[in-house]
């Protein structure tokens, strides 16, 4: 009796995770978090570097960086894959988040910089006597974290409000976002802007008082990034499955008709656009302490377009696809730039062309086409 109760409970539990709608994704999520939070730290700390299963610092930094990119890919997919709006300026939101958190990291250097001043080194170099007003509060972690979300969201809100209100869409919108990131890059390149000019922020020492390069700090940052990636995936999935998401998709496919039915597309687009920017900001804030540098080239036109190719490679309109795309493209990038640096641009260019010509649904679409014959056979028999 008791035994059967237990077995029923267990089977129910297992069913809940493995067979109910969405259960497989939940299972995958748990596996992913388990690997990121337990297995990787264990392999990194417990095993000696000679061991074949040892996860090196390089690998942790690389994977952490790519997970930040994956968050950006999810954000991009929300606005492009579900909203039908291709942004060529998402790099600017990513960089704004990075700069906001970078300000905090610069303040954490304290007097350990090369000039032993309270001010960041580049300000001493520029002969500034005090921090500009927008640096006030940046010594507080919470304020910096808030700023990393709020600054890109605010920029996106204002920009999006004006753009969507006048119903700019399609390639026009793409080009204007490109101009936005280009203008921001030029602005941040200037020393007078107060964000370190060409060199940006670098040489961080501490985060929350802990040494930023210690293995433990790296692992915590890695784990936080994995958690944020999982959370943004869950959030995005809830969003696109909701009524809101259905309206958003409808706007993507036939905006005029949605308007005729009585919805105002402006607020739907604006919400998802702002949310997407905020997610990028979070990703940027996580990226900076792991990579250890942020400079205006993050806002270059090419960087923002690369974000679009992660999503395109993975498959627009799916949520796992872009994450897979971000991993695939960036792993390929680190492999190419180490092994065949001169062929990387050829590969990337071909990737753009092949994906758009032959794989409009990306890897996710390929996966579905490969599975469909099997599924079709299954229903026949």
């Amino acid at each position: 009796m008791n035994d059967s109760f237990v077995s029923r409970f267990v089977s129910r539990f297992v069913f809940h995770f493995l067979a109910a709608p969405g259960a497989r994704q939940r299972f995958g999520l748990i596996v992913f978090l388990g690997v990121a939070l337990l297995l990787v730290p264990a392999l990194h700390l417990a095993l000696p570097p000679e061991n074949a299963f040892h996860v090196s610092t390089y690998a942790i930094t690389l994977l952490g960086k790519i997970m930040c990119y994956a968050i950006v890919a999810v954000a991009m997919d929300l606005i492009w894959g579900y909203g039908g709006i291709l942004s060529l300026g998402h790099g600017v939101f990513f960089a704004l988040g990075g700069y906001a958190f970078g300000m905090y990291l610069m303040r954490q250097i304290g007097r350990d910089g090369s000039y032993h001043s309270d001010l960041p080194d580049f300000m001493v170099f520029l002969d500034w006597k005090e921090l500009p007003w927008y640096w006030s509060g940046s010594e507080h972690f919470l304020w910096a974290a808030l700023l990393a979300v709020a600054a890109p969201a605010l920029v996106a809100f204002v920009f999006g409000y004006f753009a969507f209100r006048s119903r700019i869409k399609g390639v026009y919108f793409s080009i204007i976002t490109q101009a936005l990131t280009y203008a921001a890059m030029l602005l941040f390149f200037r020393n007078e802007t107060g964000f370190g000019g060409n060199n940006g922020f670098t040489d961080f020492k501490r985060v929350l008082g802990y040494t930023i390069t210690s293995p433990e700090t790296r692992l915590v940052l890695f784990g936080v990034t994995a958690g944020v990636l999982a959370a943004s995936f869950v959030l995005a999935r809830a969003l696109v499955a909701s009524k809101f998401g259905r309206v958003l998709t409808a706007i993507r496919d036939a905006e005029s008709r949605v308007m005729f039915i009585g919805y105002d597309p402006l607020w739907f687009k604006l919400f998802v656009w702002t949310l997407s920017a905020a997610l990028c900001g979070v990703a940027g804030a996580l990226y900076v302490p792991q990579v250890g540098i942020i400079n205006p080239s993050e806002m270059s036109v090419a960087n923002s377009i690369e974000i679009a190719v992660w999503v395109a490679v993975g498959g627009r309109g799916t949520l796992l696809g872009p994450i897979a795309g971000a991993f695939a493209v960036n792993l390929a990038k680190s492999w190419f730039t180490v092994s065949f640096p001169e062929y990387w641009l050829f590969f990337l260019g071909l990737l753009f062309i092949v994906v758009t010509l032959l794989l409009p649904q990306g890897l996710a679409g390929l996966w579905r086409t490969l599975r469909r014959p099997r599924a079709a056979r299954g229903t026949k028999t």
């Binding site: 080009i175 204007i176 602005l187 377009i305 990737l351 753009f352 010509l357």
Partner: protein, 528 residues
């Protein structure tokens, strides 16, 4: 007849009189008193005759000697009489004339002044420059005389300046006033700097005579006004120059975007292809026709056009053709093409910038008004851009192909229904747009660096022109390009290059709010 003869006689007499300087004056050169010597040097310099030049030059080279009451010029082994120029025999007891530093300085000034009458314009120019930088007192009549005889405009201007400078130091306020008035018509910064101390506004005590001071103040104001005007004109010109480059970059884009509704992100790389065509043609001329190297640029025009057009055709046939109606995908695919083109250029020509030289006829410039230099290469590029615009306009409005292109732009389906071969028109229009981009790159090679990444810098600007001008509109693209160029350059004068660029981008973003179709929208109804 007799009057001409008389005039001739007078001239000969005058020449003879000049050739022989006053003997008493020459004797004073050898006087024991330095002040007497200096007075004599000044007097001789003022006479401005060749004989005086010879004597003073000899004196400055320690070649003057005194034998009794006769002043001699000792030139190597030969000895002449200084006053008459006749050879003199046996002057062993001659005593050299001492020349101290004070006299040497005086001599240098006098020689410079005398050089103003040298038949060689280069020597005159050098002398005028020296005089202008350090005019000696009492030189005014001499300079005035030289001014009358001078024919070269540049030397004349320098002399006028030097003349006024000397007269400004005159003791008589009336002379100073006249000098200030004469200078007020100038438009050169040098004159302004000359007058500025007189106004008493720049910290110095200023001119003592109030009439002269007020005249100086108003003259400075007038010159400043003229300078500001020249600067503004210069800005507008550089704006037009930037605009012509933007126009060359955007014309092709306006066609491809207008006709096919696709965004060609590889457009900048087509510019690069054109620029490298110039480089290739230059190398070809260097190795095969080094004598005609100045003509490589005209020879590169067809190469730039057709190589870019060929790449355009290949791009259209292999990639873009399959993506019609999917504008965002085209954007990504053409970005991929641009990466491949950049890397190909690196593989073919190296990652470094290559050197493309201006042909001889494009270097230098003209200066239509003072202080407004217009380099030839910029002027020629403005002309070239206008020529390309004109040709494009003719092609679009006066040929059958142009008619087809316009038909497809306005209504693709209807054009196809009435028998326009839309697929071929697409290919040709794309090739045309690419070819024009190649021409733009050729022009760019003359004023900026030629390297694999050069196209990336122009792509955002070119898009802004197309967005601002309205889709598929040559006139719109032209006005937008020139307007953007001029506005950018005028803003740069105010606020610096980066802020100007950001301001222009913000302006375009705001502008699109008001007129999403651009400056020159196609009239008609469209639905999506």
């Amino acid at each position: 007849m007799s009057r001409i003869l008389f005039a001739l006689l007078l001239f000969v007499c005058a020449a003879a009189a000049r050739a022989a300087p006053d003997a008493a004056l020459v004797r004073q050169l050898a006087d024991a008193d330095s002040d007497v010597k200096i007075a004599a040097i000044r007097e001789l310099a003022r006479s401005a005759d060749p004989g005086a030049l010879r004597i003073l030059r000899a004196m400055s080279e320690d070649g003057l000697a005194l034998a009794g009451e006769r002043v001699l010029i000792v030139d190597g082994g030969k000895v002449f009489d200084a006053a008459t120029g006749a050879p003199v025999e046996g002057a062993e007891n001659a005593e050299p004339v001492t020349v101290n530093n004070r006299i040497r300085g005086e001599l240098a000034g006098a020689l410079a002044a005398l050089q103003l009458f040298d038949p060689d314009p280069a020597a005159r120019l050098e002398s005028a420059q020296r005089l202008q930088s350090r005019p000696g007192a009492g030189m005014a009549p001499l300079i005035a005389r030289a001014l009358e005889r001078e024919s070269d405009a540049r030397i004349k201007a320098l002399l006028a300046l030097a003349h006024a400078q000397v007269r400004l130091a005159d003791a008589d306020p009336a002379v100073r006033l006249a000098a200030v008035r004469a200078l007020s018509g100038s438009s050169s910064p040098a004159v302004k700097n000359l007058l500025l101390p007189l106004t008493g506004q720049s910290g110095q005590s200023g001119e003592s005579d109030s009439r002269v001071r007020y005249a100086a103040i108003s003259a400075v104001k007038a010159i400043e006004g003229r300078l500001a005007r020249a600067e503004t004109i210069g800005r507008v010109f550089s704006g037009l120059s930037l605009g012509s480059i933007l126009l060359l970059g955007a014309l092709g884009l306006a066609i491809t975007y207008g006709v096919m509704g696709i965004i060609n992100m590889a457009h900048g790389e087509l510019l690069m292809v054109g620029a490298y065509s110039a480089y290739a043609m230059q190398s070809f001329f260097r190795s095969h026709f080094p004598n005609a190297i100045d003509w490589y640029l005209p020879a590169a025009i067809p190469l730039a056009f057709f190589s870019a057009a060929l790449i355009g055709v290949i791009m259209e046939r292999t990639v873009i053709r399959w993506l019609y109606g999917r504008a965002l995908e085209t954007l990504l695919a053409t970005w991929g093409l641009s990466l491949i083109l950049i890397q190909s250029a690196r593989a073919l020509f190296g990652a470094q910038n290559v050197e493309v030289a201006n042909p001889g006829w494009m270097s230098g410039g003209i200066e239509p008004i003072a202080n407004l230099p217009l380099p030839w290469n910029r002027v020629i590029i403005i002309g070239f851009a206008l020529c390309v615009l004109l040709l494009m306009w003719l092609l679009m409005n006066r040929t059958r192909l142009g008619m087809f292109v316009r038909a497809v732009t306005q209504n693709r389906a209807m054009a196809a229904c009435v028998g326009v071969p839309t697929a071929r028109v697409d290919t040709l229009a794309f090739a045309l747009g690419a070819g024009v981009a190649g021409l733009g790159g050729l022009a760019l090679s003359q004023i900026s660096n030629v390297g694999p990444d050069m196209g990336q810098g122009y792509i955002v600007d070119a898009f802004m022109v197309v967005v601002l001008g309205g889709v598929g509109q040559l006139a719109g693209a032209a006005w937008a390009a020139l307007g953007l160029g001029v506005v950018t350059k005028l803003l740069e004068g105010w606020s610096g290059a980066v802020i100007a660029k950001i301001a222009v981008l913000v302006f375009i973003i705001v502008f699109i709010q008001k007129r999403p179709q651009g400056l020159f929208a196609l009239k008609g109804r469209a639905v999506d």
